[in-house]
Every structure is written in structure tokens, then in C-alpha cells.
Amino acid sequence: MSDIGDPTPKTPAPLDPLLRLGGEDLVRHLRETLDRAAHLAGALSDALSRISPQQPQESEPAFQERLRAAEADSHDLASRLVESENQLGRLMNLYVATYQLHAVPDPAQVRATIADIAVNLLGAQQFVLLLRRDEAPGCEVALREGWKDPAEQPLYAEDTYTGGDPQVDETLLDGTLKLGPFHNSPALAVVPLKFQQEVLGVLVLLNLFPHRPPLRADDRELLDLLSAHAASALLAARLFAAKDRRLKTLESLIRLARPE
């Protein structure tokens, strides 16, 4: 029989140690894991094909027991392979989303990336991004996507959101990610953009594309990442823009002060 490795079922590796690896290393590590799993599955399949039920000398209880064990191993490997593939896909999305959020320190670009993540990675058809105003009550409706008729989402029809959706209002206060569906809100998920203890705003997912399955626990990792990284990327971009404005002002003053 071919070497099929340790048949003891193992649970998939937890995500935390893997997340500490760099993005490229992480993807390489997972690829290698998948290759190993595929190799083991192939070896097991070869072994099973060689154990033919037609061989009379092998049709004893011991053989049946071995066959059952091999089939169980095969199923276990197949499910581990699927789980690894799913984990790889989720980690790829997390890596790409993080990378892109911090790629350009420009507030408009960060907002565009948040919209990109919502559409392309989360499959959101309708969503709104609310950002707290610095010196005024309420939130700026920084992005609204997926509908044209303001009556369709009247709470977000104006430039400022002043409250009205209990789940959104609560998230703005407590900074906790909320996954719907909710009985008192049209939102499917409310994602706080949170830096340390400060809630800078929220991303409200209102509808998913029809072909997209409902949000599941798996999606929570990406939503959690969005919650932390979108906020820090936005804050960094705002600070960078403010510093850039100040620098330009100072340069202008220096040019004015210099003798011709």
C-alpha cells in the first residue's frame, strides 16, 4: 500500500498563527498545505483502487475493516481539502483587502476601496458608508451604492444621516459589529469603522446580489478586518491629507517671504 501518512483525523489549523505570517508567505504556506493534501488524497485513491473487492483472498472481515477505514480516511482528507481551500480563499481575501486599504493614503481612495471590498469581495448590491462629522452632529453619507430612487432608502437620501435605524444608531454608539437579519432594520450587517475605542463611522450592508448566498459566520472575518483596517486607513489618509495641506501652506509662505 502506498504511504498515505498519518490517518488520524486532524482539525484544520487555527487561523491566528497563520495570520501572523506575511501575506505572500501565508499564501505560499497554504498552497503547500493544499498540495500535500492533494498528494495524500491521490496516494489514498491509488491504494483504494488496488484493494479490489473482486480479489477473493481479501474478502475477509479484516479486509472489510481496512476498506472502511481507508474510505473514512478518504472522506476525511476530502473534507480537509475543501476546508483548506475555503480557508485559503478567505485568507487571500483578507490579505488583498488589507493591502489595498493601506495602499494609497488618500481619503477618497480609501472610500473607493471600501466600496470595492463591499461589491467585489462581499457581494453587496446596496450599501451605504456613514462617516461621523468632526464638528457637527450626525454622519456624512460618504457613499451610497446600488439604488437611484431616494425613496427606496429614505434614511440615507440626504447628505447627512441623523439617526433612524436602531441597529445603525446602536453600532455608532457601541462600536460592535452586527449581523442581521434584524426585525427592526433593513440592514443585513452593520460594520463599525473603529480605531481604538473611537467609532469613525459605519458601513451598512442593505442588500446582497441575488446570486450571493446569505452572510455567514465565515464572512465575519472579512467584516472584522474591514472594521479595523478601514478605520485606521481612513484615519491615516485624513492625517496625511491634513499634513500635506499644512506643508503646502508653509511652502507658499516661505516662497512669499523669500526675497526675489
Binding site: 481551500e85 488583498v96 493591502y99 489595498q100 495602499a103 467585489n120 446570486h211
Partner: protein, 131 residues
């Protein structure tokens, strides 16, 4: 009938206005040579200039020149089905997929997709091309 000739060595041209999606493809298909276009005009220019492009991942929802317009122009120029085009759409509507395939696309995918979905789709196209 599929006439495209695409293999693992062919350069993949990614056509998408989203920087995020370019990065997604880079990670998902990191073992393949890849070129990037951020709009339809740039894509058509690259396809004219580069003979090593064998596969195009074409986003449908792009400003100015949409993916369908790119596909129509490629068909008018006789470049498809020789060039394998995978239409990528967010909408997931059957009529969009049918329109893409009627216009000469080899396959279509709806976003969000997993890496194995795109790898399997490409493998199917390569297998058909080789047979």
C-alpha cells in the same frame, strides 16, 4: 466551436477598473504571467500589441468602454473565439452571461468568486483548447 489556443504559458490580461480586483487576480493566479488594463481602451491596445496574451479576464461593469463593448470589438476584429475571454460580472443575471457567451466569451464568472472557481474555469478552457 471553441477555437481558442490557451495554455499555462499564455499571458493573462486582467481588464478591470478596480485596483482591488487586479490584486485579487495577482494573488489567485500568481504562477501565471499577467498584464493589467484598467479600462476597455487600454485592453484593446494591449491585445493589439501583445501576441502572448491567450486569456482575458474581462469585467463587464466598467466606465466609458464596458466589457461588452470590448468583446464586441474583439469579435468584429475576428479576435474571438481565438482569444479566450472569461466574462466577469457582479450581477449574476442569466441574460448577461448569455450575452457574453453569445458575443464569443469562453466562460463567465460572477463576483465574488473563490480562487478554485477561477482556476477550474481556466483549466476547463485550457483542456478544451488542448483537445
Amino acid at each position: 466551436m471553441l477555437l481558442c489556443s490557451v495554455s499555462e504559458l499564455s499571458t493573462v490580461l486582467v481588464v478591470d477598473d478596480s485596483a482591488l480586483m487586479h490584486r485579487v487576480y495577482e494573488v489567485m493566479l500568481r504562477d501565471r504571467p499577467m498584464l493589467h488594463a484598467h479600462d476597455g481602451d487600454e485592453a484593446l491596445r494591449l491585445i493589439d500589441q501583445r501576441s502572448d496574451i491567450g486569456l482575458v479576464l474581462l469585467d463587464i461593469n466598467m466606465p466609458t468602454v464596458s466589457g461588452f463593448e470590448v468583446l464586441d470589438r474583439l469579435r468584429a476584429a475576428g479576435r474571438v473565439p481565438g482569444l479566450a475571454v472569461i466574462v466577469i460580472t457582479t450581477e449574476g443575471r442569466d441574460e448577461e452571461a448569455a450575452r457574453g457567451v453569445a458575443a464569443g466569451a469562453a466562460a463567465y464568472l460572477t463576483k465574488p468568486f473563490r480562487s478554485e472557481q477561477i482556476r477550474e474555469t481556466i483549466a476547463r478552457i485550457e483542456a478544451r483548447s488542448a483537445s
